[in-house]
């Protein structure tokens, strides 16, 4: 197991290497490159640009520049933001906790909804509950996350008011009330709409997946054996069937974790949530390539990490799976 994990980690290095070359090439061939702001500024003379180029090492051959850039990246130095003239690593460190709060809470809510719904649907397939849940999951899977966010603002900010205060029921954006107290309840209040928007489609996918996974497992020999031995329905269900049915779900979730960050990009943009996604969107509009590069590289590492995690989980949880 340990050897397998190690090999997977080593295998991912060339992939990250290729990726970094691609992204580096993309950024360096962009018009103006890292000096875009200097070129746009009419007060900067040609001579000053030459000096800047020398200073930043941009006059060196591209491969040399790449090696230097890679070395910087590995040491955690991701360069300076063109727009804000601040180290990118600093900006990202500020934003990561906010994204983790949003994604983490959404993730927990997703599981709290999806697992019971999946179980109840599978226990009584084609019942009224199952049909309702199936319809809702189809809706959940088809609603684009950005529209759901907008619709929630429309309903709970624009249309419905709190009858006691006359103010909107939920805030339409931000993480905290400006000038307000820095309390946990205030944060929770701001979290409600973004979390609902982000969790809806995931809860739909996972409950549907767990349902079909449970239905598949019910026809396995070990479930029949357990029944034949006289185990009660509950024991068969929760001890034998559920444990096995949840395996593929664990793998799926590990593989899917990175896409929660992609969903967070939309939600953070809509709700002005000061996380990585919002940072990325602002940077993309300002063509702030060092920031863009850093965010994409971090995301790629997260994706690779989650892929390895999924495989390793599978090996640990399911003794039938053997890695050599």
């Amino acid at each position: 197991m340990f050897n397998y994990t190690l090999r997977r980690i080593l295998q991912s290095i060339p992939i990250l290497f290729i990726l970094s070359i691609l992204l580096f090439a993309l950024v360096r061939t962009a018009p103006g490159g890292p000096l875009a702001t200097a070129y746009r500024n009419p007060n900067v003379t040609k001579e000053q640009i030459e000096i800047l180029k020398k200073h930043l090492g941009l006059d060196l051959p591209l491969p040399v520049q790449y090696v230097r850039w890679l070395g910087d990246m590995l040491r955690g130095n991701m360069g300076d933001s063109i727009k804000f003239r601040r180290p990118v690593s600093e900006m990202i460190a500020e934003r990561i906790p906010n994204t983790l709060i949003l994604v983490g809470v959404s993730f927990v809510i997703t599981l709290i909804i999806a697992i019971p719904v999946g179980i109840i649907s599978a226990r009584k397939p084609y019942s009224f509950f199952d049909y309702t849940a199936t319809t809702l999951t189809f809706i959940g899977q088809s609603v684009p996350v950005y529209w759901l966010g907008l619709a929630l603002i429309l309903v709970f900010y624009v249309a419905i008011q709190n009858p006691f205060t006359g103010k909107p029921l939920f805030p339409a954006g931000g993480m905290r009330t400006i000038g307000g107290e820095d309390s946990l309840s205030d944060l929770a209040w701001h979290l409600v709409l973004p979390v609902v928007a982000l969790s809806a489609s995931w809860a739909a996918w996972y409950s549907r997946f767990l349902r079909s996974s449970l239905l598949d497992v019910q026809h396995e020999d070990y479930v029949r054996t357990a029944r034949a031995k006289g185990a009660s329905d509950r024991v068969v269900y929760y001890k034998h069937a559920l444990r096995n049915a949840i395996l593929p779900l664990v793998t799926l979730i590990a593989l899917d974790l990175p896409s929660l960050f992609a969903g967070a990009l939309f939600i953070e943009t809509i709700f002005s949530w000061p996380g990585m996604g919002r940072l990325f969107w602002d940077a993309a509009r300002g063509r702030d390539y060092p920031v863009l590069l850093a965010v994409v590289m971090i995301d790629a590492v997260i994706i690779i990490f989650c892929n390895i995690l999924a495989d390793v989980f599978y090996g640990v949880l399911d003794p039938r799976v053997k890695y050599d």
């Binding site: 899977q141 088809s142 684009p144 990009l265 993309a284 063509r287 863009l292």
Partner: protein
Amino acid sequence: MTNRSLGSQILHRFIKHRMALVAVVMLVVMVLLALGAGLTPYSPTEQNPANPFQPPSPQHWFGTDELGRDIFTRILYGGRVSLMVGLISTMIAIFLGVVVGALAGYYGGGTDNVLMRVTDTFLTLPTIFVLIILSAFLREQPYPWLKNSVFVVIVIIAALSWMWTARLVRSLFITLREREFVTATRALGGSDGGIIIRHILPNCMGPILVSATLQMAFAIILESGLSYLGFGVQPPTPTWGAILSTAQVHVYRAPWMAVYPGVMIFITVMAINFIGDGLRDAFDPYVVHADKK
């Protein structure tokens, strides 16, 4: 069962899937609406500063936007663009995926290794983030043909979504290439190309079609999402995502603007998902039986 061809059996099973049939009707209606966009008396792009932010009325069914344009007309034209982007990028992605998957699965060995490493690299890309960078980057290039944002969006979505089909087709080819009919064809002197295209590929059509529906739903959501964020199809060309994007800015003044484009995306994507579900059951009757046992 009476003697029927495989095709008519599949069609029969698809028709019995009631939701899929409803979904086909919904999708046909969407396509007809998009094709009939020219029939409304308004232009999708011409501005009418005299009546911005009109609420829905008999003259303007869905109201007007901030520049006085009829939203109903813009949504119909937007449907053309959104559906076209979805369809063409899906066709390109499926084609790429089938070629890569077929070559990797059929030849195996070194070819397989190289092609699958490329596929893996693409799979580790954070799709939406890379799409945004590419879109921002390509739009700044000095080539006039890159100024056509519809074209750019089609190409970049296709370039980042062929990998799932490639993996699927590869796994199908690996099992099918060992089957007797392939060995027999080879013994009769059939060429590799002929075996791949005429003998193995037709047996993969079911899963490929199902994967195409998933792909198309994904592409439509991606295009709308990109346009919504401002990195997809550029104004004044209307697409559902782009209309939604302006609606967000005016959500307090003209809330109705945000409703309709979202409903269109939702209905289209749901219809495609249902069709995919119906196709899956139609091509793989075993799944249905296992479910209902």
